[in-house]
Each structure stands twice: as structure tokens, then as C-alpha cells.
């Protein structure tokens, strides 16, 4: 994806001496118009080259501007151009943003190590989004989803070059078809049964995630620490989707949604005095654990059987690397044909 560089210093386009800011602005506007015309006429080649021109003009504009006035870094309280009438201003950034930028504890730990920590805490395969959320909530970490994108591929490459050279690999969860499940990450040291995904496994893993997060919070509280609001928020979000786990809000069992017929239905609110976090009433970790266990109970037998079956097949048919990173497309196609 093309990114616009807004930071002077990495510019490689030298603005023409004669081009003033005004000229540049005019040119930028003209270019934008031409681009949109080209896009509308589906002249993609022309649009591309015009875009390239726009990029360099914008860079030139940025640089020219930098010559005119000092650059304000984010968080710089003294900066700010008055009179622009924008809703933006110094000090308006959210607390979340500030936290991201100024204190990033654990950022010296390699990404794979951080992901490993989060997965170990959960004990079930998880999507990047969940890993990031768990790590942020419970480890005050600052992983970014994008950092996880190529992780599995890198791990696979490393494994294939020198198998089992590392104490653990971040690997795939395996589907019923023994291929790598889209988007899930797991740890290679887990037993196969923990890494395969049967029809009920997503639900079981979700419930397990909720239990692990709740238990972690209980441990923190037990050790006299206060669970950070982000952890409480994560717990509430998970509890929201488990029957009996969220405080009685009338939400579970309330027909929400679009009122096509019965406009004017009265609606319940959370109980007075309940702690409210991010729109969800605060959840009690012990209640969450209890409720999640109750539902787990329902699915356990069927899920265990399905996992055992898939894991057995995986052991029979897959090589080491495939067992960790999933069967190949070719192998799958062959199997498909033979069925």
C-alpha cells in the first residue's frame, strides 16, 4: 500500500526553487482532480502515474512547509496553528494513544516472545486480535496486529531450515481438513488435541479464554494488585457473550434490534449501582468462571471426541512440519480428488 510520508527528513524529492507553497497547493489540487477524473474513466495507468506525481508534490509541500515553520511533534504542548478551526488541538489525544506512545512496557521483548506469553496464558489457539487484546489487558503490552501478520510464515521458514532448533514455535491450529486454520496462532509444544479445531472447538476455546482471563484477574487481585481497567473491560466483553456470566442486565434474553412491528417497547437498563465499564456492566471474575465452566460442561464430551479424531488423523497423515503448519494445498487437493 502506498503511504504518504508526512515526516520531513525522509524526503527524497527536492522541491523546485521556484515552486512556492501556493504553486504547490494549486498543483496538488489540480492533480487530485485529474486523478479522480482518471479513476472515474477507469484509466488506471494514467491514475497511477498521476498519483505518483501527487505523492512527490505532497512531499514537496511538506518539505516546503517545514522550511517555513517548525514541525510540531505529537504531544508537543506548545505547538498548534490557531485559527484553523479544527477540532484537533494539543492535548486532545486520547489516553489510549498517549499510553501507546510514551510507555510501552515489554516492548524490548521480541514480538514472538510476547505472543508466546499471551498464548501460554490462554492455553488455546487464538486470533491475532485476541492475542493483542489479551496482551494489552493483562500484560500492559503494546503489540500491534500488523506485527503478527507474518509471524507464522517466519516461524515456518525457521522450522523448515532447522527443525526443532528452537524451544517452541508459534504455529497453526489445524482444521478438520488438516489444513492450517485461517488466522489462528498456537504453540508447537501443545499437544495436538489442543491445537486442532473441531466444530465445537471455537466455542470451547472461547469459553476457555474467558476462564483464563478471569482466573488471571483473580490471581492479580489475590496478590493485592489492582486489575487494570483494560483487563476488566476485556473480561466484560467476553462475559457479555456467555449466558449467566454478565451481571443480570436484561440484555441476555431481551429481544433487541430493529423494531419492525413493536415500536415503543420499554427497555431494561443495568441494575442501579452496578459498575459499568465500556457499556458493559462490570463482571465478577468468579461468576464468569462459573458460567463459562457450566457451558463448557455441555460441549466437553463432543468436542473432546472430535479433537481426538482429528488429532489421530493428523498424526497418521502429516509430516512434522505439516503437523505444525498445516497440510499443503496440493495434498488437500489430492485428498479431495480421492474422496
Amino acid at each position: 500500500m502506498l503511504e504518504i510520508s508526512g515526516t520531513p527528513g525522509n524526503c527524497w524529492y527536492a522541491p523546485g526553487v521556484s515552486e512556492t507553497l501556493d504553486d504547490l497547493e494549486e498543483r496538488i489540487n489540480a492533480l487530485r482532480r485529474e486523478i479522480r477524473q482518471a479513476v472515474r474513466a477507469r484509466e488506471s495507468v494514467l491514475a497511477r502515474s498521476l498519483r505518483a506525481e501527487l505523492r512527490s508534490a505532497e512531499r514537496a509541500w511538506d518539505q516546503a512547509l517545514a522550511v517555513h515553520e517548525p514541525v510540531y511533534e505529537p504531544g508537543d504542548e506548545t505547538g498548534g496553528e490557531p485559527g484553523h478551526g479544527t477540532a484537533h488541538g494539543p492535548g486532545r489525544e486520547s489516553a489510549h494513544e498517549r499510553g501507546d506512545r510514551h510507555e510501552a512496557p515489554g516492548s524490548l521483548v521480541p514480538v514472538r516472545e510476547q505472543v508466546h506469553q499471551a498464548l501460554t496464558l490462554l492455553g488455546v489457539p487464538a486470533a491475532a486480535k485476541m492475542i493483542v487484546a489479551v496482551h494489552a489487558a493483562l500484560r500492559a503490552g503494546s503489540l500491534k496486529g500488523a506485527q503478527l501478520a507474518s509471524l507464522r510464515r517466519d516461524e515456518e521458514r525457521s522450522f523448515r531450515t532447522s527443525p526443532f532448533a528452537r524451544p517452541y514455535y508459534l504455529c497453526a491450529a489445524l482444521t478438520d481438513r488438516l489444513s492450517a486454520s485461517r488466522g489462528l496462532l498456537a504453540v508447537s509444544t501443545w499437544p495436538l488435541e489442543q491445537r486442532v479445531v473441531g466444530p465445537l472447538s471455537p466455542r470451547v476455546d472461547f469459553l476457555t479464554t474467558a476462564i483464563r482471563v478471569a482466573e488471571h484477574i483473580m490471581r492479580m487481585v489475590g496478590a493485592g494488585e489492582q486489575a487494570p481497567p483494560s483487563a476488566q473491560r476485556l473480561l466484560s466483553r467476553l462475559a457479555h457473550n456467555i449466558p449467566g456470566a454478565a451481571p443480570e442486565t436484561g440484555r441476555y434474553g431481551r429481544g433487541a434490534g430493529l423494531h419492525l412491528v413493536d415500536a415503543g417497547t420499554a427497555r431494561g437498563g443495568p441494575e442501579a449501582g452496578a459498575l459499568v465499564v465500556d457499556g458493559f456492566p462490570g463482571s465478577d471474575p468468579a461468576t464468569v468462571v462459573k458460567a463459562a465452566r457450566a457451558e463448557l460442561e455441555v460441549h466437553a464430551a463432543a468436542d473432546t471426541a472430535a479433537r481426538a479424531e482429528i488429532a489421530g488423523r493428523a498424526r497418521d497423515r502429516l509430516q512434522d512440519a505439516e503437523r505444525l503448519f498445516g497440510g499443503t494445498v496440493l495434498g488437500l487437493a489430492r485428498k479431495e480428488a480421492s474422496r
Binding site: 485461517r182 429481544g255 433487541a256 434490534g257 419492525l260 494445498v329 487437493a333
Partner: protein
């Protein structure tokens, strides 16, 4: 069907997605659209080459928002969706199985994925409850004028009490129980396409198509939070319109037979895909099939600007919309209507009443205007 292939020219037919199929029902009276769609002609490219690029586009913000909401509903094995279905339809707790029909590894063809979908749906339709509940990304197929259209599956099908339902996830907000009616209607039209495709699939597999519910579950964000909420929407009316239109398209042969044999909408693209067909020639070809322009085309058909210009050049009263046409009692052209109004034209058979009204309107207008 090779006649349709000739009409399109030597390019693969344009795939129909649910949105496009739903739009087919928008102007069922238009032969031009029926023929072009049946032949799988790329109307968008045709309009652009004619010099009337379609005025549609989707903002990247809307796309991002739609994707983000969908993934929110579906994450963790559709945890949010399960909650909604338990609330709305009383889905029992044990029914929580989630199968991603799209997660087949690698990047296989639509046929392979469709047969995978069929296999699992067949199993689900045969088995009792433990076969599965939620089926994400089912790749469905619909026959459109003899062509198989594969529907890119961003829906979830789920099974409860032996019946299948379609879940449609849309990111427009429902605020205090109200949503924009246009958007709800569009969502219902699209969901109907999936319902029909699922019905046909079950029928092909020897099951009773009535096992697909005509009530779809529409999931939208509620109020201003990102929290999903679900509503049941009955899509029977949309299904009826869709069926009718598909049947019409199956009979498009009758229209096609009337067309001159050498007619084609081939854009004759060169090696780079740039059309080389002389524009005048293409214009004549397109004009060779009758259109029925209505202002609604402006939001539903790629050819709208072309057809509007055509209607305008013909002085057609279609240009002004249904309300005006109704008020004019169906008088077809502006000149004719104005002629009747100023009395320079003698009303034809059956036009006496509207002519009298127009003359009166003309007189009053002159009197007070």
C-alpha cells in the same frame, strides 16, 4: 446459449454477486438490462466505453467499517452471533458448533468450494443435531439464464430444529429500533438471493427446500455503540420478485431471438484489456435492445447515464419519473404532452381525459402563473 456468448464476445461472463442479482429485480421491465445481464456483459465497462461511466463508487471508509463490523460479529467462533441467536430464537446452548466452509486451506476454485459446501449441507440436512449449527462462508450457486453464478459468501447459514436460516450482517446502524428503510430493503433483497440459492441447493440434494426459512436474521450495530443486535426479517416478498425476474431471464431467449443475428456487445479488448470497439458501433448495438429508463436506474444500473441521455434525446416523459408519468396518464413524450396542453395536438383514442386536464392546467397556468 452460444447466442448469449456471442452477444458478450470472447470474454468470460461477468460474475453475479448477490448485490448484482438483487439489483436485477430493480427494473424488471427493461429488456436491455435483461439481455445484457443474461449474457453476462460487463455493463460497467460498456458504460465507460460509451462515455457514460457509472456514477457509483464505494467509499473506502464504508468498506472498512463493514469489514470491521462483520469480523466483530464473527470473531471467536461467532461468539456474538451465538448470543444473538440464543436471545432471538432461543437457540439451545449445546448447539454451538461452528464450521467455516471457506476455510478449506489454500485457494481452491469456486466449484471445489461449492462442492465442499454441498457436502456439508447435505450432511447437516440428513443428520440430527450434532452435525453442526453455524456454517460460515457457504459458497452457494444460483442459475441465472443458464449460467451458474457463484455467490461470494459473506453470510452465515445456521440450522435450528431442522430448518436453515440465513444471517445477513450489515453495518448500518439501528437507532432506537429504526434504520434507514432503503438500507433494510436492500439487505432484505440481498438476503433473499441467498435464501433462494440455499433452497435450490437443498432441493438439488433431494431435500425439501421449505427447510430453508424465509425469515432471515439481520444483524446490525445497535444505536451508536458497536454492539450487534439481531432482527428477524421476512423476505417472502423479495423472494417472489426475485423468482419472477430469474424466470424472466430464463426466458430472455425470446427477446434474444428477435435481435439481429450479428448483434454483439463485444468490446473487443486488446492485449491490455483496453476496448477497441468503435464507440458508435457499440452505441448502435446497445440501442438495438429496448430500454425502459426510470430515474431509479440512477441508483441501480451501470448504464443509467447512457439510458437517461437516450430518454432525454427522445423527449421521453420517463425522464421525469413515475409520479409525473402517472399524472400524465401515460403520455409518452414531452412534445406530445405539451401539444395536448396547448391544443395544437388532437387527442388520440383514450387520451381525451388527460388532454382535457392538460388544457385546463395550461389555461390556469397562463391565468395565474
Amino acid at each position: 446459449m452460444d447466442r448469449l456468448d456471442r452477444l458478450r464476445g470472447p470474454v468470460p461472463p461477468r460474475p453475479h454477486d448477490a448485490r448484482a442479482i438483487a439489483a436485477l429485480a430493480a427494473n424488471p421491465g427493461c429488456a436491455r438490462r435483461a439481455v445484457l445481464d443474461a449474457a453476462g456483459v460487463d455493463k460497467d465497462a460498456t458504460a465507460a466505453h460509451l462515455g457514460y461511466p457509472a456514477p457509483f463508487g464505494q467509499s473506502p471508509f464504508a468498506i472498512t467499517r463493514g469489514n470491521a463490523f462483520e469480523s466483530l460479529v464473527k470473531e471467536s467462533g461467532c461468539a456474538e452471533l451465538l448470543r444473538l441467536l440464543r436471545e432471538l430464537l432461543g437457540l439451545p446452548i449445546p448447539l454451538a458448533a461452528y464450521t467455516d466452509l471457506g476455510d478449506v486451506g489454500g485457494n481452491p476454485s469456486a466449484q471445489v468450494r461449492h462442492s465442499h459446501t454441498r457436502k456439508l449441507l447435505d450432511k447437516a440436512a440428513r443428520d440430527s443435531d450434532d452435525a453442526g449449527t453455524l456454517y460460515d462462508h457457504p459458497l452457494l450457486r444460483l442459475e441465472i439464464a443458464g449460467h451458474s453464478a457463484y455467490l461470494e459468501p459473506d453470510v452465515v447459514a445456521f440450522r435450528l430444529g431442522g430448518r436453515f436460516h440465513i444471517v445477513e450482517i450489515k453495518s448500518f446502524a439501528v437507532v432506537d429500533g429504526q434504520a434507514e428503510p432503503d438500507k433494510v430493503a436492500a439487505a432484505a433483497r440481498q438476503a433473499a438471493v441467498y435464501v433462494l440459492a440455499l433452497m435450490n441447493t437443498l432441493e438439488e440434494l433431494g431435500h425439501d427446500p421449505r427447510r430453508v426459512s424465509h425469515e432471515v436474521v439481520l444483524v446490525c450495530p445497535e444505536n451508536f455503540a458497536n454492539r450487534p443486535a439481531a432482527t428477524l426479517v421476512d423476505v417472502r416478498p423479495q423472494l417472489a420478485v426475485l423468482r419472477r425476474q430469474l424466470a424472466r431471464m430464463a426466458r430472455v431467449g425470446a427477446i434474444v431471438d428477435e435481435l439481429p443475428p450479428e448483434l454483439t456487445f463485444d468490446l473487443a479488448p486488446d492485449a491490455d484489456g483496453v476496448p477497441t470497439r468503435p464507440v458508435a458501433e457499440l452505441r448502435e448495438a446497445v440501442r438495438g435492445v429496448d430500454a425502459r429508463y426510470a430515474p431509479d436506474c440512477l441508483s441501480t444500473c451501470d448504464l443509467c447515464f447512457f439510458c437517461r441521455d437516450e430518454a432525454s434525446a427522445e423527449g421521453s416523459t420517463d425522464l421525469l419519473g413515475r409520479q409525473v408519468r402517472d399524472a400524465l396518464g401515460g403520455v409518452a413524450t414531452v412534445t406530445e404532452a405539451l401539444g395536448l396542453a396547448d391544443g395544437s395536438l388532437t387527442p388520440g383514442e383514450g387520451q381525451e381525459e388527460i388532454a382535457r386536464l392538460l388544457r385546463l392546467a395550461d389555461r390556469i397556468y397562463a391565468e395565474v402563473g
